[in-house]
Amino acid sequence: MDQVVSADMDDTWTVAGRSFRSRLVVGTGRYKDLEETAAAIEASGAEMVTVAVRRVNLSDPKAPMLQDFVDPKKYTYLPNTAGCHTANEAVRTLRLAREAGGWNLVKLEVLGPPPHLYPDMPGTFEAAEALIKDGFEVMVYCADDPLAAHRLEQMGCVAIMPLGAPIGSGLGIQNPAMLSLIIEQAKVPVLVDAGVGTASDAAIGMELGCDAVLLNSAIAHAREPVLMARAMKAAVEAGRFAYRAGRMPRRMGADPSSPLGGLIR
């Protein structure tokens, strides 16, 4: 038992020189209020959280702020570029994030239009190049395209984050074969980012061999977000255990579990 526990403690993943024990990265958006955000993140066990960068509301300068509830000293903030459609907007946004937070690990996402918000890969390449040149360590949201994923890795992105289904759709992982191909070729961490709807989806991502799972709406839009956060924590751990354990081979026919010898006659 002690050996198992100790092996679990050593089972970390590392991105840009930072190591994490939790393989669940959660967003901080779409919660009822900041109290619920804090409670759900605590329950998820996440050590890294994504955050957005937006204008301060000048007419309400004393409004509570995210970092009053989600302590940046306790959680690694991963600022995103949600809402940015050009490389210039992404770079300006993340330079502000770097100044506000003092770190250079960021999540790049350049999105196409609704209703799919599919990753805009030409825009993503352009922004990734500009950000890497400016000293950022870029975890990149991308299409489930092995060629695009490889190119982003060659450019110097520190983590590849293909979608499992459209953002906020909760459709689950629609592309296990493509994710497997991307995972197999990658030398940097691969996270499935977007599409997870419930705990089994997160477990599937981990069973495929993802280094971690990134999700937001699946927790924030659950009827009981804090309970779903616990479910996601357990699912990611279960999926990781299963991946490490190695699943049994699939077979078309039955193979009895009980011995055939010694039956009474």
């Binding site: 901080t28 994504t50 955050v51 960068v53 204008r55 300068p61 970092q67 330079r95």
Partner: protein, 72 residues
Amino acid sequence: MNDAGMGMITVNGEARPLDGPMTVAGLLAAIGLDGRKVAVERNEAIVPRSEYAATRLEPGDSLEIVHFIGGG
């Protein structure tokens, strides 16, 4: 008030009179913001926190004052 002190600046897209000499630190205080929790861009260039007190605003300046909010 001299001419150099007259004019308008833009803060987060809103026009705002510049009624006299003012620094970034002074502007944040006037709005009521804690400088440790925001980041400031002036004319598309970052103003480092250490320079808030020394950075004088000029008429026509465009400022973005941002903070972290919940996001996925």
